[in-house]
């Protein structure tokens, strides 16, 4: 198992930006009768979602506004940011890397180290592990991690197995080199054998875009999508999540001798409530330690962990010291957990995307 202990790095701020457009699942006819709808909302925990809708908003746009606000509130000088990592699976273009575009748009130095990582639901965890590795040596002093997705763009509105679950969001996390920082601990895993459990088949270089990619087919009774829209094997991913996430968290705690009782919050990737409640029960922690942003934002892929911190723990993390465990799991399949401590970090209220900026 891949374990990492990282010294000398501290989290100093987190922010999140969501689109203004809201989809209300209680009014979603595709879910069936009113009874079916209330059962869906009760089981998944997903009542509403912020989505880009018909606006041409990219992940980079949401992350840009999250970053601008965080940098301003931190009183950081942009030229001081010497390490920038962008994590997404919904980039602006196939090439160039969106991280380069954001470097320019944010006004970061051309001498800033810039990198893009392609991961989904585990993306924030891997982004944190990566940026922490770059900062730990002291070669870089200020790191900016932007993580987000606009996954709703990849869902078919005639696929009730995926469409009602997802929302869009962009987040920013700021980290600094700090010799007094308490260590951060990581556990990271991958199983590519099941890479087809969540997949967009066409449009990459394995199956290049063709006319055939646009043909909408009925895949299962009542489920329609084309090959540019994402497939999700709900059963396999559910089994994966409830098996791997608890193991990841338990092995992290055990390997680094972390007392579960001392941890203030366990922030899970917001997949759906059926899955995350199962994970919570398996690691035997009370509901008061497990915040949810699912009800308002749905599953926002890589953004879901920092979005939940901003949406639900803002008061706590801005005023106090907190010990937090997070766990991301999903597309890849890829999963991992982090233990880290925060001490009165900067955490602005959730930013509603401003179309005029």
């Amino acid at each position: 198992m891949a374990f990492q202990k990282i010294q000398n790095v501290k989290v100093v701020g987190v922010s999140a930006c969501v689109p203004n457009h809201i989809v209300d699942n209680s009014k979603l006819e595709m879910l069936g009768t009113p009874k079916d709808i209330s059962k869906f909302i009760e089981t998944t925990g997903i009542a509403k979602r912020h989505t880009v809708g018909s606006e041409k908003i990219c992940t980079s746009d949401l992350c840009f506004q999250a970053a601008e606000k965080l940098i301003e509130d931190l009183n950081w000088q942009k030229k001081e940011i010497d390490c920038f990592i962008f994590v997404t699976q919904t980039p602006d273009y196939i090439l160039p890397s969106t991280s380069c575009i954001l470097q320019d748009r944010l006004g970061l130095s051309t001498d800033c180290f810039v990198l893009e990582v392609s991961l989904g639901c585990s993306g924030w965890v891997y982004g944190m592990a990566t940026i922490a590795q770059f900062l730990t040596s002291g070669n870089f002093k200020k790191g900016l991690l932007l993580v987000g997705d606009t996954v709703t763009v990849t869902k078919s509105d005639r696929d009730k197995s995926t469409y009602p679950l997802f929302g869009d969001a962009g987040t920013a996390t700021a980290l600094e080199y700090c010799e007094k920082a308490t260590p951060m601990y990581f556990q990271l895993s991958t199983d590519g054998k099941n890479h087809k459990a969540i997949i967009i088949e066409d449009g990459g270089f394995r199956n290049f875009f063709s006319e055939e990619s646009l043909v909408i087919k009925e895949r299962e009774p009542g489920i329609f999508r084309n090959n540019l829209q994402s497939y999700l094997n709900g059963t396999d991913v559910f089994i994966f999540g409830i098996t791997k996430a608890p193991k990841s968290i338990n092995s992290l705690l055990e390997n680094f001798d972390i007392d579960k009782e001392e941890v203030d919050y366990f922030v899970f990737h917001q997949a759906n409530k059926l899955m995350t409640e199962k994970i919570r029960k398996k690691i035997k922690v009370g509901p008061e330690k497990v915040p949810y942003s699912l009800d308002e934002y749905g599953n926002t892929s890589s953004a879901s962990i920092p979005l939940t911190i901003v949406a639900k723990l803002r008061d706590e993390v801005t005023k106090n010291k907190k010990k937090i465990v997070t766990c991301g799991f999903g597309v890849g399949l890829s999963w991992g957990s982090i233990y880290f401590e925060t001490d009165s970090i900067i955490c602005p209220e959730i930013i509603k995307y401003n179309l005029n900026k």
């Binding site: 059962k39 869906f40 089981t43 998944t44 197995s161 094997n233 709900g234 059963t235 396999d236 559910f238 089994i239 409830i242 098996t243 059926l274 899955m275 199962k278 029960k281």
Partner: protein, 75 residues
């Protein structure tokens, strides 16, 4: 154990208006859907500490098939 399993099965699929039988083909229930399947997998994991993979689950047709499979794996 059999009655307990039937009760859990009913409760998981939220069947409230009737009794169910071990010989029932559960995919024919009005209440059966993909969320029901996930809830059932979660219930079996919780109650019997057993994860039934989806390929295996597809081969099980009646309530008794599921019950027998659990017995064969947990004895």
């Amino acid at each position: 154990m059999e009655q307990k399993f039937i009760d859990l099965f009913k409760e998981t699929l939220e069947i409230e208006d009737r009794e169910i039988e071990m010989t029932d083909t559960f995919r024919d229930y009005d209440e059966w859907d993909s969320l029901g399947l996930l809830s059932l997998i979660a219930m079996i994991d919780e109650e019997y500490d057993l994860i039934i993979e989806s390929n295996t689950f597809q081969t099980l047709e009646t309530v008794a098939d599921v019950h027998n499979y659990i017995k064969s794996k947990t004895v």
